[in-house]
Subunit: 84 residues, 2 copies
């Protein structure tokens, strides 16, 4: 059993209005010194068996093309083997 | 400079239709053996200075009450000191 965690975040050069709104709200609620907030998505995917070779390559392809929009987003993928 | 990463995920007992849709799509696109997918949000927050004491407690409160909905979501928070 493998657990794959895919984090998808807007590229740094793309404006993030949701993050900007959160930054403003944090300040209004008393948290000082917040210099930047970015909001992204996280996918936690449980997969039976090991994730190796072709399946791992396919998972990377799908993370880039299905889970994220490569024009405006970057993704990072972490594979945890032997997850519960 | 501290970087705070807050991951917000639906509680395990709450249905996740977005995750279910992703699970179906992964299967149709050829990734076999996907047993579960959960979709959540990730906030990356850059804060000036150290995050300790009252400010850390306030950050926890805001993560629970502003960034997540404690009725249906869990959050986890990681503080990275000396982030770029």
């Amino acid at each position: 059993m493998a657990r794959v965690v895919v984090d998808v975040m807007l590229k740094p050069e793309i404006l993030d209005p949701q993050g900007r709104a959160v930054q403003g709200a944090l300040g209004r609620l008393g948290l000082t010194g917040v210099s930047d907030v970015r909001q992204g998505k996280q996918f936690v995917i449980d997969i039976e068996g090991d994730l190796e070779g072709d399946r791992l390559a396919l998972m990377h392809t799908l993370a880039e093309e299905l889970l994220s929009n490569p024009v405006i987003e970057d993704y990072s993928m972490t594979v945890l083997e032997d997850a519960q």
